[in-house]
Symmetry: C2
DNA sequence: ACGACAATACCTAAAAAGTGGTATTTTAAA
DNA sequence: TTTAAAATACCACTTTTTAGGTATTGTCGT
């Protein structure tokens, strides 16, 4: 069997080095390089053409777009995402952007190793928590959905501002809309989410990382 | 200079091995052992009497109590906590239980190394985000406070219910109070927190783990 | 026994949110 | 090119929240 050629893309020192040790312990794996930023990753991918990239797209110098860039440019390279706890929508987004497998950083060593083998062959592997978080729509093979919610970008924008404490009027002013429009959006959002008050909206916003729980409190320091 | 004798206590494979590499790279550090659980940690501490324990008290097989146990039994051993993002109250709690220093897992290597040196000497070291989250009350040396907030238990209870989406009336019914009382509490809380709407209350509740961001959404599944 | 604070309760009035509609325009997809 | 969905806007009405107060009781520590 041919060795699996791997790049690690993660700006966090600890998890990066944890992965290094894991790869060193298995002779089927070859670590080509470590990328600390998106530009590192682009350059190294061009140079090495890895079989597999293990990436934390949430860490400081990476983003969702990097996933898409890699998938488009190097279709033979498979992506294994490994992040801290994420919202369902983020995970679904990553999968839709072409990530083959998804783990969390608190996974066991064995799970990570298994994920590497499978992902390098192009097979999906989700750790337990991820699998339960994302429902796979059996009808369309490659479509991952997130609990049937489909909140539009505009709606997301409005949720974010509401969660940051703006009133409908303030949101309207900020986005150059009528308050009626904001009210309508708010109604539609609440219907989609199945909630009937601001608390529900704010909790959703936190879960989807639209706002940080520290929004107000760090501001007051 | 004598070498610093260290135990790593963390059930997460990746961060544990990341720390292993970091310690190996510095000849002043000696890694005595790795503890995957509280009982591991107790046994290894008894056997090795380390200068320093690097611990993620939030990881699967550890808890706040372990911090207290170690501090009480081995006063010469210093504790360096390193966790994922935490609420201020959790951090304050850890510090009050006797943790000398506190980092986050996304810290840079240099910060971790500096923290190890200082903590082993008994000096405090907080990474940037932690330091800004917790203000040290200079008047009483060993007392860490949380932004001078002192929210009473009753107030916490009411915040929690509001964040769960209950109206003042519903909270009042649940706690057998007049709506006036709930309204008053709500006002007092908002004054203490320096916010002026429900969104701020809910974000605070999330930050202090009074409510899960999944409260509504898991309920609807 | 005193003071401080927490918990309770009430009042008024303005502002905002929540409910249940309808309706036009723009955009993306089939 | 038809169609569906998203984004926009308006109306009327009710409920809830927010902001400004005051005031009584109980409890805890000094």
């Amino acid at each position: 069997m041919q060795k699996i050629k791997i790049i690690i893309a993660d700006s966090h020192f600890l998890s990066r080095k944890g992965l290094v040790i894991l790869l060193e312990e298995n002779t089927d794996f070859v670590l080509l390089s470590e990328a600390l930023s998106a530009s590192d990753l682009i350059n190294q991918s061009k140079f090495y053409h890895p079989d597999l990239i293990i990436i934390d797209y949430t860490s400081a110098n990476f983003s969702f777009e990097n996933l898409h860039q890699i998938v488009k440019k190097y279709p033979k390279t498979h992506l294994l995402a490994i992040t801290d706890v994420q919202s369902n929508i983020s995970i679904a987004k990553a999968l839709n952007l072409g990530v083959t497998s998804h783990l969390l950083k608190d996974c066991e060593q064995e799970e990570i190793v298994e994920a590497i083998y499978k992902t390098a062959k192009g097979e999906n592997f989700m750790c337990g928590k991820i699998a339960s978080a994302v429902l796979i729509d059996k009808t369309s093979v490659n479509e991952y959905t997130c609990e049937g919610l489909n909140i539009s970008d505009r709606e997301m924008e409005i949720i974010k501002l509401i969660a940051e404490g703006l009133s409908n009027k303030e949101v309207a002013d900020k986005l150059f809309l009528s308050t009626h429009t904001v009210t309508t959006h708010r109604k539609n959002i609440m219907n989609k989410l199945g909630v009937n008050n601001t608390a529900g909206l704010v909790l959703f916003a936190v879960r989807e990382n639209l706002v940080s729980p520290n929004h107000f409190l760090f501001a007051s320091n």
